[in-house]
Symmetry: C2
Subunit: 414 residues, 2 copies
């Protein structure tokens, strides 16, 4: 099937999906979960081909690990699909409703976006998650995974799409670019007449390439360079707990902390303790000039460090003169995802949450909570670092648009 | 000032604008209104230079008319600025607030988008309107008008920006590309590190060019190819009133009707009357094969007609077999802005509003109501034909994004 035909079919499917009942979508999700379970062996066989290819190409073991499926990981996918059944369907819900003086009744109603293309890398479970969330929100999806997972992804998409079709979902609702050709992606990104939104999930290069090639709106899922600022007068114990959690509980994810900012008045009192605690947990510290004076023996941070998302047990530390410098540093270097202040002062907490320009701003809590499930939004398609349409965790509601339905009795404009 | 410096200054201004009090913004809007009034002569002088240039270049008189300012048009701009003072400030309002089982308090709070670039053509009043709406919603704006209005726009921007500054608005909040160079626009559209959103307002070529050049999210304000469908069993009188209004009350605007669809069962009964009424109003009719049999002597519509936004006293008419064909025609040819059904049947009204994929869908009312003021949203920056971020009339709320403010007592993630 040609790329344009895939897109055209997806658009046709989207038209029907827009008003398909919730019960049909849930039936399909249940069938999809059952099919994955049933076809476990086939999926594992196809995944083995990807793994062999990756080993031949001598990819890093962490990369191969992300690629690998096993019984447990397939069970997790099955569970995720079942969970989406229980999320409430956003389509058709009334956002607002009002009546105009001329008697017109206006309702702002949630509708699906239409056709969403998702371009992603490595983990094959994204195939199942993305298919489930787009389907539940009434959208057709065109998936495009990385070439490293092509066999796994093709198997998953075929199984999911067939199961959905058997439950009454129109053909083309869950589709995939079935080659690893870059030209196909380029062609896809120009088809704004059929595709309404592109979501790239992956590294910086992938995102840049998508933005520069696409004629279709893009919602970026960028990196997470997150900060924690410890204010003067903060409770040391609370600060320590939050910092250790934000840095070490899962350092490889986007909402982990990368840079710690500390008010100069508490540097001498607070830094030695937290420094020891972090080093005990195996964290490499890189400090500003002043930090290095207090924590002797640690590496000095360069300007590059303030720009770096380590995704690892490394932390840059900077002592700041005041809240203004902390906010300025964050607004300069942050990726705009998730920042925290630890403070006992309500006025400064207010200033921090108001002036820091990030999707999620915390007072006395860990940046690690930036997550659809943790927020209670249900499963997420990703975390948007854009300010247009959706910001922060993107759940089902964020996969919808709206329309105005206006009812009259013959009103005309004067 | 170089383009990059304008953008950088706008970003700095946006940071401060994000938390500037409503009262300061209103003071600035009032000062801007007073300044336009005071500087009327200067504005008219500069506008004369644009008009002379346009006349030398032998532009169409309708084009020159749109360009021309006079006392009345400046007074209208002054009034619009004053109206924005009275609109409520969306910034800081809480969209949603909830508490998680772990005690975290999450608030989803409206914030400005940041820096918005608006690229527009011809009418100089857009300069004042865009400056007012972006300021009230806490955004910095970079304006880029057409070369045909450069003198008027520069004068307006200088006056507005100076007045805003005198009321405490940071420098760079209302800025403008001060040349007519295309290169400057190209450079601007790559500055995604400083600019958060681009809104092109103008013809199809302008929009296409912006989309293909921009690395920044774009919200399109496309054309309006609007339809009215008269269902079998509709009240003829109501249908006639709605059709005449949608076609003739102001044919040159995007929410005017361009194509009329009529159910085959009422074609013989309804078409002769409405045909006469439209022709009496000076409307040229272009009908499908069946229409031409009933309304003899009218021009036959070609496929091109179904694709054409006339913006003029011309109407294409098609007889359709049923509601399905009407919906199919609309979803194929519409620009997705504004469509109406005239019907007495609630089930078919429901199907129409559900299945038609347009921003505003009307039951028994004129498509001409698609407008921020008519909807009660206040002044509008334009009407989005996109499904991402904002759809339909864009008022102050649509010029905002949101952030999550999360308050804890030391919570960490497990």
């Amino acid at each position: 099937m040609k790329v344009i035909d895939i897109a055209r079919q997806a658009k046709e499917a989207a038209r029907k999906l827009a008003y398909i009942p919730t019960s049909t979508k849930n039936k399909a999700l249940t069938a999809m979960a059952a099919a994955l379970k049933k076809e476990k062996k086939r999926i594992l066989n196809e995944n083995r081909r990807d793994i062999e290819q990756a080993e031949q190409r001598e990819y890093k073991s962490s990369f191969i690990d992300r690629l690998r499926l096993n019984d447990k990981r397939i069970e997790d996918m099955v569970d995720s699909l079942k969970e989406v059944v229980h999320l409430s369907d956003p389509v058709g819900s009334i956002i607002k409703k009002w009546r105009r003086p001329n008697g017109l009744e206006i309702a702002k109603v949630r509708v699906p976006i239409g056709v969403i293309a998702i371009i992603y890398e490595s983990r094959p479970n994204v195939t199942a998650d993305a298919a489930a969330l787009t389907l539940k929100s009434g959208n057709a999806v065109i998936l495009r995974g990385g070439s490293e997972a092509i066999y796994s992804n093709l198997a998953l998409q075929t199984i999911l799409s067939d199961a959905a079709a058997s439950a009454g979902i129109p053909a083309g609702a869950i589709s995939m670019l079935r080659t690893t050709s870059h030209k196909d992606v380029e062609e896809l990104l120009k088809l704004s007449q059929y595709i309404d939104l592109v979501i790239p999930r992956g590294g910086e290069n992938l995102i840049k390439r998508v933005i520069s090639l696409s004629n279709i709106p893009v919602i970026k899922h960028h990196k997470g360079l997150c900060h924690t600022y410890v204010d003067k007068g903060a409770e040391y114990k609370m600060a320590e707990k939050i910092i250790l959690n934000a840095k070490t509980q899962r350092p490889g994810v986007c909402n982990a902390m990368e840079t710690l900012l500390i008010h100069k008045d508490i540097a001498n009192g607070f830094l030695p303790g937290i420094g020891r605690a972090l080093m005990t947990k195996g964290v490499e510290l890189r400090g500003c000039h002043l930090t290095c004076r207090i924590l002797s023996g640690i590496k000095e941070a360069t300007k590059l460090d303030w720009h770096t998302e380590y995704l690892d047990l490394i932390l840059s530390i900077k002592i700041v003169a005041d809240l203004d410098e902390a906010i300025e540093h964050i607004n300069t270097y942050s990726s705009g995802l998730s920042e925290a202040i630890v403070t006992t002062n309500p006025a400064r907490a207010k200033r921090f949450t108001t002036e820091v320009d990030s999707s999620c701003v915390y007072v006395n809590a860990s940046t690690r909570f930036t997550d659809g499930n943790q927020f209670g939004l249900g499963a997420e398609i990703g975390i948007s670092t854009d300010k247009i349409h959706a910001r922060g965790p993107m759940g089902l509601e964020e996969l919808t648009s709206y329309k105005y339905i206006v009812r009259g009795k013959g009103q005309v404009r004067r």
